[in-house]
């Protein structure tokens, strides 16, 4: 079980403090497929970055299979970080443009010093994952700018899976991809989820996709201890800057509904 308890995360900026997530709790059991939905700006990405140990929360706790996370970011142990992997929305912005696609896939192993030393072993490992995600070997020799968005996202999936995580978090993994590539990626994730009891958290705007693929769906607006947040009253808004700015904007616009309080 990967669980987040009462996570609060605040950003500074725009002349004030922005509470991105406020006492939010979420549990992802092993072998489950959970969907996380909610409008833009509701704090979904912040929450999962905390759950993936990339971002330290202001308060609250994250526990992975009973081990409480005490340090965050690079100070967190590799073993712990490998247990939770994250895939982002924009593959092109989440790979090193100087690495060939093959090196992108093996990067987490290289960075952790656990890359197999033999060349044959390395290429066999790479081949296994490339085949699994549907990449042909000629693509592994290319640079990210020489492959399509969908092909690169397949590589990002392989990169996440190569460290054999217990939990996989997909942050809008397919919103920029065509439906067939989306289906292909979800097929691979579904297979591995079944094989090794992988817990999968799928963040998506696509309610139809969440309904079709996930066993359980959580709306971030209902996970907060403070109840329905005022910011979520209208989804036609960017992340709330400060409550004051929101109210001022709302007062001027018919479509930005005034805060319910």
């Amino acid at each position: 079980m990967l669980s987040a308890e009462a996570i609060t995360k605040t950003y500074r900026g725009g002349g004030g403090r922005i509470v991105a997530v406020d006492r939010v709790s979420l549990a992802l059991p092993c072998g489950s497929r959970v969907g996380l939905v909610g409008p833009s700006g509701a704090g979904k990405s912040t929450l999962v970055q905390v759950m993936a140990m990339l971002l330290a929360p202001d308060s609250g706790s994250v526990t992975i299979d009973g081990d409480r996370v005490r340090t965050w970011g690079v100070r967190c142990s590799r073993e712990l970080r490998h247990r939770v992997q994250l895939i982002f929305q924009a593959p092109r912005m989440s790979v090193d443009p100087r690495l060939r696609v093959g090196a992108v896939i093996l990067e987490p192993l290289a960075a952790s010093g656990i890359l197999p030393s033999g060349a044959d072993e390395r290429s066999a490992l790479l081949q296994t994952w490339a085949t699994r995600v549907g990449l042909t070997s000629d693509l592994l020799e290319r640079f990210p700018h020489e492959v399509s968005e969908g092909q690169l996202q397949r590589a990002c999936l392989a990169r996440a899976l190569v460290v054999t995580p217990r939990y996989l978090i997909c942050d809008e993994l397919s919103s920029m991809l065509d439906v067939s590539t989306q289906a292909a990626l979800l097929e691979v994730i579904g297979e591995i989820q079944g094989e090794r009891e992988l817990g999968v958290l799928l963040i998506t705007h696509d309610r139809v996709l969440a309904d079709a693929w996930c066993q359980e769906i959580a709306d971030i607006r209902q996970l907060s201890a403070r109840g329905e947040p005022e910011e979520a009253a209208s989804s036609d808004t960017t992340p709330a800057r400060t409550a004051g700015a929101r109210r001022r904007l709302a007062a001027r616009y018919s479509d930005a509904e005034p805060d319910s309080r």
């Binding site: 990449l135 989306q182 097929e187 036609d236 960017t238 479509d255």
Partner: protein, 313 residues
């Protein structure tokens, strides 16, 4: 029906180190005033290149053959001066991401006025026109004019670029991936705005990979695969019963249908086969499919599909 915009045998290739990337092959399209045409395909299928070639926005390492005519005038051989006129007053592009298409360090008022002035309006006329347009879109010119783009919500940003595109009363409006990265509520708003643009009488071309948006918008749909139009016809018929196997498999991949992916990858644009580009992934392919290239064959009710299954009719 006379075409307002006619695309004839349009091919676009990029010269690169890896050889020529054939991004668009022999595209033929006719769009009449008030038409709504959706250009649908996965990334790399040629849809954005099609949009950009209509406006001569392609980079220099490009080979373009064929014709693009707007009310009979060929657009591909225009001088920069003539092009500026076409782009500002006759054909407008609604760019893919509003926030990154506007200057982040200038207030919106100046940018909106600049766009309106470029379309030949005097300063007072430009102000009046913008105020009217923005009002129709539910925004106040004085208010948004004093802000920067990041101070507006995604929906408002979208309306700003819509207003910029509409201010010159263009004959053709091209919207490039209008919903990528937007949440469901914003997709609804954007779809409604696109339909209102179409209702104003301009021909509207929507480039998208979002099949649900396409289904909602209606009109006609051209499906691209590996640089070619493989199916074209009324959007409603496409969603009911696609005529090309690629269209059929693509719809099956929708999560609300079967969520089943199409095996394999689309072919490399540097090495497109001389036969049907979908043959390798097609469950119904037969000998002929890997021998020669199918034409767009008429199927029924204005539908045409590039598949030998329809060749005998």
């Amino acid at each position: 029906m006379t075409g307002l915009l006619e695309v004839e045998d349009l091919s676009v290739g990029f010269r690169t180190e890896r050889g020529v990337v054939q991004a668009l092959s022999e595209a033929n399209l006719t769009v009449a005033a008030g038409d709504l045409l959706l250009v649908v395909g996965e990334s790399g299928s040629g849809k954005t290149v099609l949009a950009h070639s209509l406006l001569s926005l392609l980079p220099r390492n490009v080979n373009v053959t064929g014709y693009v005519r707007l009310r009979g005038q060929d657009l591909l051989g225009l001088s920069p001066r003539e092009l500026r006129h076409v782009r500002s007053r006759r054909m407008a592009l609604i760019p893919q991401s509003p926030a990154s298409s506007l200057n982040p360090v200038r207030k919106l008022g100046g940018q909106l006025l600049e766009a309106a002035r470029a379309r030949g309006l005097s300063e007072p006329a430009a102000r009046a026109r913008l105020a009217e347009l923005l009002c129709e879109l539910g925004l106040d010119f004085e208010f948004v004019g004093g802000r920067y783009i990041h101070q507006l919500s995604g929906g408002m940003q979208q309306r700003i670029v819509n207003a910029m595109a509409l201010v010159g009363e263009p004959d053709v409006v091209i919207a490039d991936e209008p919903t990528s990265g937007l949440d469901t509520a914003l997709v609804d708003t954007t779809a409604a705005q696109l339909l209102s643009i179409s209702a104003r009488g301009a021909a509207l071309l929507v480039i998208t990979h979002d099949l649900r948006l396409a289904e909602r918008l209606g009109g006609r749909l051209a499906l691209l695969y590996a640089s070619r139009i493989v199916e074209i016809g009324p959007t409603k018929l496409f969603f009911k019963a696609p005529s090309h196997p690629y269209g059929r498999e693509l719809l099956r991949a929708l999560p609300e249908r079967e969520g089943k992916s199409i095996p394999g990858l689309s072919p490399e644009l540097t090495a497109l086969p001389g036969h049907c580009a979908f043959a390798d992934r097609c469950p119904d392919s037969f000998d002929r499919c890997v021998e020669s290239l199918p034409d767009l064959y008429p199927v029924r009710d204005g539908v045409a599909a590039r598949c030998f299954v329809h060749a005998e009719r």
